[in-house]
């Protein structure tokens, strides 16, 4: 296992005692969107659940002085930072997988048409939401810690994501969707990579 993967697993173990809270949030949102629109389920989960779960290790770290643990463990600092991104990414994959399966089941039960193209669009939008959120949220949390930045780190990305989605929706109605999809995936990867680079600089100036 690489150092980054070990750090991501450490984040998993860090939040493991609080897994019920995450599952309740997941279930609640799934319940709400199952009724309204199975197509919107995964983007909604990504928008509302992942920012909380990705930030949770920072919350626990502030409480339990985990920054000292990270400094004591034989783990390069960059692996700690990239590990937070890997943790967020793993959350996206897990949420997207579980959410997609759930959305397909609900769609079948409700006899709602759910084409392959709809699925790809749904996942692409989810990816874009995730990428924008993580790209903003993680450098803030790394620089300031959860206690100082919790509201900003969770609400500002949320607001930006909503604005982006609205903006995107307007464009999607006038532009053939196939043009946008690859671009969104590439832009998401670029945003996360830029964010990781910013996080390294932010970490050197971090306030704890």
């Amino acid at each position: 296992m690489t150092a980054i993967a070990r750090m991501a697993v450490l984040n998993l173990r860090t939040v493991a005692p609080y897994r019920n809270q995450g599952l309740v949030l997941f279930g609640l949102i799934a319940l709400i969107f199952a009724e309204k629109s199975p197509v919107a389920l995964v983007p909604a989960l990504v928008l509302l659940v992942i920012p909380q779960i990705a930030a949770y290790p920072f919350l626990v770290a502030d409480k339990a002085d985990l920054e000292t643990l990270y400094a004591v463990l034989p783990l390069p600092r960059r692996s700690v930072l990239y590990g937070h991104y890997a943790w967020a990414m793993a959350n996206f994959l897990a949420t997207a997988t579980a959410g997609t399966a759930l959305a397909l089941l609900i769609a079948r039960a409700q006899a709602v048409p759910f084409s392959g193209r709809t699925l790809v669009t749904m996942l692409t939008l989810s990816w874009a939401i995730f990428a924008i959120n993580v790209a903003i949220q993680l450098p803030l949390l790394i620089r300031f810690g959860y206690t100082r930045i919790s509201i900003l780190a969770t609400t500002m990305p949320l607001a930006l994501v909503i604005l982006t989605v609205l903006q995107l929706h307007l464009h999607l109605t006038i532009t053939p969707i196939q043009i946008w999809l690859p671009l969104l995936w590439v832009a998401g990867v670029a945003a996360i990579m830029t964010s990781a680079a910013v996080a390294i600089t932010a970490d050197q100036r971090r306030v704890h």
Binding site: R6, L10, T14, L73, P74
Partner: protein, 321 residues
């Protein structure tokens, strides 16, 4: 890099908000011994330890840790166990969870030893970290450090708030750890009685400066406590009364042993305890002067108790009076 040193700090300096947190800090510990780092709260002990462990940048000087320059390779941390006055583990972890979380990071993690140590320390694998008492939390962190087979244990104020029985038990644990000659301990404390039993070397730190460093016996020999009546103890020429305390019933101060002859005959001169040395040094004024005998390179001499040859820690860089 010297392989027979557990660590060495040479001229280390660092600032906080433009002010010196550490200034020209130099001391070293040969492998196989315990060094006590003594200072009042805010003296710079934790900052020194953080610099030593590479957890904090320093602006001047150099640090050697287990034969590597700091900041060094990350693998160095495999050999260092850090025990603070609090745990730095998730409070809701059970002790079994803590092992599962930490094991992947250490090449030499020994799960059997971890369980044995918890059993020995009376800790339950099912207990939650947040439910441990302070003494138990310190024992847990020692168990973690010993389970990854650290060669150097760094304790930062582990005994503050512990009852005497637990402190005594901790001294026993450290004694067992030192049965291996390749193991060393840095023990920062303001409770000097902890070091009466386990300290081989001592470093006194005050306001971010090293006041004196050497073997415990050398430090005890270097000073004398002088006591006199309310008006009998005054500072004679050539001698400095360190941390002079005047009360309605008498006066007391610390003085360097070689200066006791300069005092009048109507004062009582006694060997100090570590606590008296620490208290008077912490209470002294801020006038500074070089300490005699501080120049020159540290020699090699047998350890006072064991007769083993070891690189001798540098004596006091300066003494503040």
């Amino acid at each position: 890099m010297s392989s027979d040193l557990a660590f060495a700090l040479r001229g280390v300096g660092t600032t906080v908000g433009g002010n010196f947190a550490l200034r020209d800090v130099s001391f070293e510990l040969p492998t196989g011994y315990v060094m006590g780092l003594i200072g009042a709260n805010g003296a710079g002990k934790t900052t020194t330890i953080r610099c030593l462990l590479g957890m904090r940048a320093f602006e001047t000087g150099e640090i050697e840790l287990l034969g590597h320059r700091v900041p060094g390779p990350v693998i160095l941390r495999q050999d260092v166990g850090v025990v603070l006055d609090h745990t730095y583990l998730v409070g809701d972890w059970r002790l079994a969870d803590a092992e599962r979380a930490l094991r992947p990071f250490y090449d030499r993690w020994d799960g059997v030893r971890y369980r044995q140590l918890l059993d020995e320390f009376g800790l339950d694998l099912r207990a939650r970290v947040k439910d441990l008492s302070r003494g138990m939390a310190v024992k847990l962190m020692i168990a973690v450090a010993l389970s990854h087979q650290a060669r150097l244990l760094v304790f930062d104020e582990p005994t503050s708030g512990l009852d005497p029985a637990t402190r005594d038990e901790l001294a026993g644990i450290i004694g067992d750890f030192l049965l291996d000659e390749g193991h060393s301990v840095l023990f920062s404390t303001h409770i000097t009685s902890d070091l009466d039993r386990i300290g081989d070397y001592l470093t006194l730190i005050h306001e971010g400066r090293i006041v004196r460093t050497g073997t415990k016996d050398e430090i005890l020999e270097a000073y004398r406590v002088v006591r006199g009546g309310p008006d009998t103890l005054s500072e004679p020429a050539g001698a400095h009364l360190i941390g002079l305390r005047r009360t309605p019933t008498g006066t007391q101060a610390l003085v360097r042993t070689e200066e006791t002859g300069l005092l009048g005959g109507d004062v009582l001169v006694e060997a100090p305890t570590l606590e008296e040395i620490a208290v008077h040094i912490a209470a002294r004024a801020t006038r500074r002067e070089p300490h005699p005998g501080t120049s020159g390179s540290p020699g090699r001499k047998p350890h006072p108790d064991t007769g083993r040859h070891a690189s001798h820690p540098s004596m006091s860089a300066e003494e503040t009076v």
